[in-house]
Symmetry: C2
């Protein structure tokens, strides 16, 4: 084996991350992440886990006992939500209105679900009546919806959906990857049974963890399984015994990532969750006004736009990719391109967590003005 | 929802981590981890991924193209190794000589394998002749062995096992969680087809990532599957397209953890891999001599002892748990207790990565002398 040449010291370009995530973290979070590691069964660490659970219950607006951070990214949280409750043959109904709806379909299929879908063009969402009709038609065991579709910038309202699911004895599973911390989300009030998010968007922490919550109804389905959960790493039968009593060893916790998450959540308590949501909304509106003044058009109808992520139509004749590259190279600003159906058609601009600040809006608008 | 009380600033007790992992990280690693986040598709980050792959190939001693860090802990690496190559009905032969062998059995069973086991008392390992006989009896598609059994402190020699597996058209899957970086490991020379480790032991980085490598023979089995990999997050069909061309988005990479891993690997290049192995061996021998002088007995025969992890028999009449708690409370030193068959019978003392230093050996021996 050849010995690799000695790597240069790591220096990270000073990017302003205004794409679909990650976002820049508050320096307090980065500082917490550089504290020394600690044992995953150390009494001090176990106490910190309890604290993280309490803080997560606050941002999820839930009393769910099983509210934890999963030791993987948001995609691992999506997988955990399905792996635990889907048994082979279960009818799982997915509302597909973008890339992450398709991912739910892919994952649920892998776990042996009988997947049914309802579909919307990328940029729209489902009405309660449409969801009702689909539930009555397919009689699913689980309804999967994306509350904040990161590929389109659309918010899927959830008011009334939980009641509908309860009437039809169905679990409500929700992707909150681009909503938690940045967009009002009420797990208990809305009757959400399984929800997952990520650390690097509304919570403003670096990527690596997935906040996850699961209701007693969902736990009941897990406990009634006749087959084992095929995914050991994400099996909530095991994880709940590590996060709660008897504190049984499962895997070695990523302690430094959890230090960061704790600090991110502490910052939200400090600000107040409602204030945090409001800040995201206000800065997004500032962005939308500015985009309009530049003659740019948002892809999503205003009332369903996510404050955390805005999709902007690339004007005719403009090379969208070239604009993104220019912003990155010239100004160290990252914005995202379109995915799937929207590839080449939109830019995706994120205003998340610590990055949701008026000065960032100002800078991006001015940079866009220069380049267009 | 009640608002949680504002958390106190996070302060971590100054533990010296001499248990089965995590170990303390070199401050350079912690410092790298606190650099600002960066986009997972940023040209700079993609370049860093290439670099991490090169560095990982060096510590794994392999030319395997598919050599990556998985975005989860060592247990996720274990799961990835099975999830990708086990198809329902495959005969998987596991050598069980401790806790992590049992975990391999559990996981392989969940993926539908027809699991066969050979077993040894906790503290022993398998001879090449025993492995040969078992392979001839069971004709497995995959042989799973634990190179460094973290629950017993035993090293399982692998010389000749790869040839045996090739003769019998079987893949060799190896747990190197407590060996990589601290114990000689030769992926290619030994004919290992799948191997996984963790970031927080021999590599001396905080926990959160799993170095993983997979040979072309193993990839061939993956490509010939007639069923899809049920685990989306760990599906190497997808991950290989993100770590290599066409750099297709899979999940948002935990960039800060990878900064830390890069720095940990850079430190090993700086020291030299063989020197790093040798340092682990020398400090372990210092520990073993000191333990003997204290009248303590190592559980494992010297030639099969892991330099990274030593199991020490708790003397008759001594309350092992009380000793560990005393060390933690009085001196901030963490050592581990026994797992499974060895619960209450041994302590587990780790000398891993940055913590494998003579001063730590000296301190622990003196602390043990005081308490016993």
């Amino acid at each position: 084996m050849t010995i690799p040449s000695q790597p240069q010291p790591l220096t990270i370009p000073p990017r302003l991350l205004m794409g679909p995530g990650p976002s820049n973290a508050n320096p307090r979070i980065l500082s917490a992440m550089s504290l020394p590691a600690i044992g995953h069964l150390d009494p001090f660490y176990l106490e910190m886990m309890d604290q993280i659970q309490d803080l997560l219950r606050y941002v999820w607006q839930t009393e769910n006992e099983l509210t934890i951070s999963i030791s993987g990214t948001g995609s691992a949280g999506m997988e955990a939500s399905l792996a635990n409750v889907v048994e082979p043959g279960d009818v799982v109904l997915i509302g597909v209105m973008g890339y992450f709806g398709h991912r739910l379909v892919d994952m649920a299929t892998r776990y042996g679900a009988d997947v049914k879908t309802i579909n919307k063009p990328w940029g729209e969402n489902f009405s309660l009546a449409e969801l009702k009709e689909a539930i009555e038609t397919h009689k699913p065991a689980i309804l999967g919806l994306v509350n904040a579709e990161t590929s389109t910038g659309v918010r899927q309202p959830l008011e009334g959906v939980g009641e509908l699911c309860r009437e039809h004895n169905c679990l409500l599973l929700v992707d909150a990857v681009t909503s938690l911390g940045g967009v009002p989300f009420y797990t208990d009030k809305w009757g959400v049974d399984l929800a997952y998010s990520c650390s690097q968007k509304g919570l403003g922490c670096p990527p690596g963890l997935s906040p996850f919550t699961m209701s007693d109804r969902a736990i009941e389905k897990l406990q009634k399984r006749t087959t084992s959960v095929s995914n050991w790493y994400l099996d909530m039968n095991l994880l709940s015994q590590y996060w709660g009593e008897p504190r049984k060893y499962h895997h070695t916790a990523p302690c430094n990532m959890n230090y960061g998450l704790r600090e991110a959540l502490a910052l939200i308590v400090e600000e107040g969750l409602e204030n945090c949501w409001q800040r995201h909304q206000q800065n997004a509106e500032l962005l939308w006004e500015g985009l309009e003044k530049l003659g740019l058009v948002c892809h999503v109808e205003k009332q369903y736009r996510l404050p955390t992520l805005t999709t902007v139509r690339i004007p005719e004749g403009v090379n969208g990719k070239a604009v993104s590259i220019y912003l990155l190279k010239e100004y160290n600003i990252e914005i995202g391109g379109g995915l799937g159906e929207l590839a080449g058609k939109v830019w995706r601009i994120g205003l998340m967590g610590y990055n949701s600040r008026p000065e960032n809006v100002l800078l991006l608008l001015e940079a866009l003005r220069k380049v267009l």
